[in-house]
Structures are given as structure tokens and as C-alpha cells.
Amino acid sequence: MSAPKDIVLKGGQLFFVRVLVFLSLVFGLRYVEWRWFSSLNMSQWWISIALVAAETYSLVDGLLFGMAMWRSGYRKKPEPLNRPATVDVMITTYNEPIDLVMKTARTAKAITYPHTTYLLDDGKREELRELALAEGFGYITRGEEWVNRPLHAKAGNLNNALMVTSGEFLLILDADQLPEPNILDETLGYFNDPKVALVQTPQIFWNVKEKDVLGSQAPLFYGPIMRGKDGWNAAFFCGSNAILRREALMQLALTGYVQDVATVLKETLRGSKKVVKQARKQAAGSPSLAAALQEISAAARDARRAVRRGTSLAEVTYEFQRRVRAASRGTIHDDLVQMRRDLESLGDVGAAASLALLEREDAIVSRLSELDASPLQALTSLKEMVDTFDVGRAHEGQPLMPLATISVTEDMATAMRIHALGWKSVYHDHLLAHGMAPEDLGSALQQRLRWAQGTLQVMLRENPLVKRGLSLAQRLMYFATMWNYLSGFANFVFVAAPVAYLVFNERPVHAYSTVFLLHLLPYIICNQGMFMLISWKRGQKNIPTWRGQQYSFALFPLWIRAAFTTVANVYFGRPLGFVVTPKTREETSTGQMLKLVWPQIATMGILLLSTIIGMVKLYLGIAPSIEGTWLNVVWVAIDVLWMSVVFRAASYRGFEAPAP
């Protein structure tokens, strides 16, 4: 597969990045090979295996990153859109302050390309409705059909709005994202290519100081990484500041609907034998029912055959339900026959009632089956089976769900499905909207947790490595992001290893010596060299990648929590504990904030204690080796330095500056 032709993949910088990616690959494989086959200290196998596994994890992570960097180029600016098009600007909100939402709406109104601006208010706030209508914005909330059905958060909000709007393209904005007037003029041109379904632009936050204590900015992601994914036609939707083609979303909704119906139908038919057997037990001793069950069983068998032959699902379900209805009428008829027999023994009044029943039998049978007063309704398992044959997706708020609802990060899941249908995406690396980041540690952690959980939900529910329709490169690019969120386990091992050495004399590596450094250093140098090179922009400040790397490490307890809660959610139906990221400052003390990062504080305490123990051992001459102790002490120092960011983050009190 070649890169999209309007991406420029030339220049000295990219050449040297590729050289370093290649060298990282060579040295990295050499190091890991040496670690697995020549340096394992199997007398302490548990820590040895854990450490080498963590190192292998990191190598894979690095290689996937390198793959993105291989094609991290720059897009040419597109021609303007070659025809007029209709655009809906959709601002999603739930509980953000009304002033903030209205400010975003007014800024969106000022977008120069003709468009309609809608407020999608999942908070159903009357005040917002009045303000929106007074200023000429569309205002959309959920209707009755969503009551007692899963709301699917932001994905549901957008899906609801998609059914009542009609713009050819959609610009999606979070409630805090203030768009530039030229956001559509700059991006719509990409859709001249009829296969392009998505254009994502960066998300940068204006309420973050340069030091970015909470690590909110993601300059590495909204820069080299997304450009690299774009190079493999795998740039994904990041929830806001993106333009989508409605046609692609609707195609997604329709294929999703048909697949879902087919899956449910096939599962139901597969289980129908069991259901009929159960129903027989439940209604033992009723001969008329036995006949009805016989007929339903035959209907299910014929439906299974019809599905195998490829008969349309609508026809199969219609025919099945027709036969069930007929069987159900049969049982009512039998009940009425029995009733007439009973009535006739009751003298004149009874005989008259019996006659009346006979005369109006057809009407009675139809009415009773319409009222669901057929005896078959009594058999719960059977009733459920017949209900699932309903092609109306009665369990959902609406049958068509364009945005994926399998994950709390609907954006990534949706993009992956769009790619699987053969559509293209674009990453437009020019800042066209300015948003707000969480302003306290609690909100920032919640946001990070949600991203990790959502990404892992997609990994467990629709793994890109096996999903049909994706190219190999797309599989790897999606998987890279998921793999990255598993780093908590590896980093736990990296923290535990020096403790094991300094306190318990456990040596995972045979030789902490020059041999070790000779194998490790070339990889580290190439890898860090690549990082420096991609962060470098001619005539500009370097991209600050350090804060992001620091958080990726320091939040290891959060990533581990994300992994466990997501597995519990996907396989055991437990709640994720997910809340919408607050956008206002919450009044919380530093002490309260520090409680949120107790695992990091405890880890730092253990690391410092281990260092003291290690140094005492060295002084007493009972350390396993002098170089080993020093190497581990340096290792601990780096760990603590990286994790110490949590103290500054806990005392961070937001940003005081005017909005742009």
C-alpha cells in the first residue's frame, strides 16, 4: 500500500528519522534477543521473566511508533471544494456552563462557509433552549424513544441529531472548542476525493500554561503521530474538531444495523430448539399447546434453512412471525372450544353464551391475539424468542446508530469501522479550534481514565488485528494506540525491578555490566535520537514531548486500573465508573488531590526506602555488586523524578488568562 499521493514524504528530516527508525529496529531486536537468550538469570526466574517481558512490550511499542514515524509527512493544502455543499455544525453538550456553550455557538455561527449551527443538549436545559432559539441556533435533545433505553452518552447524542438533520457534512465540536472562521474553508476541499469520509484537525487547549503541569496538551499525538497514522490512511476521529461525511456515517449505520439483526436472528434460531423444549416443560399437560409448539419448532427450522439459503432477513422474520401468530391463534381457538363445552352444561344462559362465542369466534380470536392474550404469551422464553425476531431493534433508542456505541471513546471505534468499509481519512495539521482542558488533577485523571478504558473496550470488542476490511497497516496503527494503553503493567515491572534488586538482591539480568550497557545503549540512543528529531521543527520551538512521556509513565497505576475495569466491564458487565469530564474548576484542596495519586506517592516512598537500604548494603559491603547498586540507584532516581510531577499537579489551581 502506498501513502496518499498528496502527502509529502520527502526531505532530510524524514530521511534521518527513517534511518533512526531502522537502526532502532535493528538494535532493539538485538537487545531483546540478547536479553531473552543470553542474559536471563533463571535462578530468579519470576523477576527475570517479568522484566524481559516488560522490555519486549516496550520494544513492540517503540516499533509501532517507528512505523508511524516512517510515514509522518505533511499534507498539501487541498483545492477548495469543487461544488456547493450543506454543512451542519454540531456542538455537543451535557453539563457545561451555559455561557461557555453559547460562546462556542456564537463563534461557530461566525464560520464563513455557509452552515447551520445546532446545539445538541443532552442536559435538556430549558434556559439553553430558549437562548439557542432566540439567537437562531438549532436546538436538539433526545425524544421519548430514548426513555428507558441506553443513552450511549455523546455517541447517542450525535446519533439522535443525525436523524433530524440533513447536512452533507458535519463539523463536530465539543462545547468548549471555539472554531476559527475558516475551519470549513480550509478542510472541505479534502472531500473532493469522494472516498474521504473524515478530516480531523488538532485539539490544543488555550487554558494551559506553557509548563502544562497536568499534561493536557498532546503535541506528539496531534503532530507526528497523527500525521504518521495519516500516512497509512489510519488517521482517526478524535471526538471534536473534525468534519465527517454524512454518507459514510449512514452507510456505517445501515451495515451495522443489518449485521446486528442478522447476528441476533442467527443466535435466536440456533437457540430455538432449547427454547421450545423449555416451553414444553413449562406447559406440560396441555395438548393444544403441544401442537402449537410443534408448529413453532417447524417454523424455526424452516427459518434456519431460509437464512442458510440466503433469503432476505426481512422475509424470514416476517414468515416466522406469521406462523407463530397462526399457532398462537390455534391455541386460543382450542381454549374457546373447551369453554363452549363447559358452558353448554350450564343450562340456558350457558348455552346462549356458548352460541355467542361460536358466532363471533373469528373476531374474538383476532382481538385476543392483538391483545397479546394468546396462551403462548405465558411462556416467557418463547415470548422473548419471538420478540428478538423484531427487526426494529426495540432495545435501542433508534434502529440506526451511525456512531459506534461499543465504547466510551466512540470516536476511535467509529473511525475504525469507517476505515473497514474502505473510506479514507485525513489529518489536517493546522490549528483551527481552541478548547479548554480540565483544570484540576481530578478531572484530568478522570479524562485520561476514560480514554484508556474506551480504547481498551474497542480492543476487546472489535480488535483491529482481526477486524475485516482493514489493511495490515491500519490494523497496526489502531493496535499501536491500544497497545500503548497497556503500558501500566510494563511500567509497574520497571518500578518493581530496582526494589527487588536493592532490597532482596534479586538480579533479573545476569550481568549488570558493560555487556549490558553495550547492548542497551545503542537502542536507547537511536530511539531518543528519533524522538529529538521528530520534535524538531525548523525555525520553531521544539515540540515539548517530555511532559507527555512523563505522564505516560507516572500514571501507570491509572492505566492498570483502566485495564482491569475494562475487562470487568466487557466480560462481566460491570460499570466502568465513567463520568463526563468536568470543564469547570472544582473546589478541591491539594490534600484531597494528593489522595487521588496515593499509589504514586506510595511507590515513591518505597523507591526511596529501597535506595537507602541499597546504599547501606553497599556501605556494609554486602551489596550483590557495586555497579549493579549504582545502576539501580540511578534507575530509581529517574523513576522518582518522573513520578514527582504528581505533587505539582495536585497543587495546580488552573489557568488565569483571557481567552483568545
Binding site: S286, M339, A353, P375, A378, L379
Partner: protein, 111 residues
């Protein structure tokens, strides 16, 4: 799951089904009435207040009960039928033989 609470008031058995009076529950109601007759209590009042749903089999069981109590020289009456049951009774014109009394007392005192 439908449950049946029964109390005997004087010479009358009051049965109070709770839940769905349908195909699954009908045999039990038949049996309760048959036992009552066998034990000499031939007057039965079925209090339908707690019945969520009545289907043709449930109605069939009531008619069977009516027949067997009458044959034993007694009677079966129904009381406090909820909306859905009234619709079914109305549709089948069964009020002629199974008059829905507004209360258990009235059903008990009716001639």
C-alpha cells in the same frame, strides 16, 4: 410466577391469584377449585384484583370452575377484575355467566 392465596369465609372459598392468570397458571386454579369441591366447599369467589394479565386459558379455567361448582350445586363468582380482564370478558361476552362484581363482599352476598 403466579401465586394463589386462599381463605374460606363461611361456606365460600375466596381465591386470590397474584400475577398472570394464563396458560401456565390455569391448571393450578382448576385444581384449587376441584379440591375445594371435593372438600365440600362448593362456592368460590375469585378475587382478580392482583391479576396482571388474563388470557384465553385463564378465562377457560374460570369457566371450567363455574361448570364444576354449578354441577356440585354451588357457584363461582369473580370480583375486582382489572381493566385488561374486563376487556377480555367484554370481548367474549362472558359477563352473562361471569359477572364481574366490584368487590369481594358483593360477590359473597349476591343471591
Amino acid at each position: 410466577m403466579t401465586t394463589f392465596a386462599s381463605t374460606t369465609t363461611g361456606s365460600t372459598l375466596v381465591v386470590r391469584p397474584e400475577g398472570r392468570l394464563d396458560l401456565v397458571a390455569a391448571p393450578e386454579l382448576r385444581e384449587i377449585v376441584a379440591k375445594s369441591i371435593a372438600g365440600g366447599v362448593v362456592n368460590v369467589v375469585v378475587d382478580l384484583a392482583e391479576v396482571d394479565f388474563l388470557d384465553s386459558s385463564g378465562l377457560g379455567a374460570l369457566v371450567t370452575g363455574l361448570k364444576s361448582t354449578r354441577q356440585a350445586g354451588g357457584n363461582l363468582r369473580i370480583a375486582r377484575a382489572p381493566e385488561q380482564a374486563l376487556i377480555v370478558l367484554d370481548l367474549t361476552m362472558m359477563q352473562q355467566v361471569l359477572f364481574p362484581y366490584p368487590s369481594v363482599e358483593e360477590a359473597l352476598e349476591a343471591p
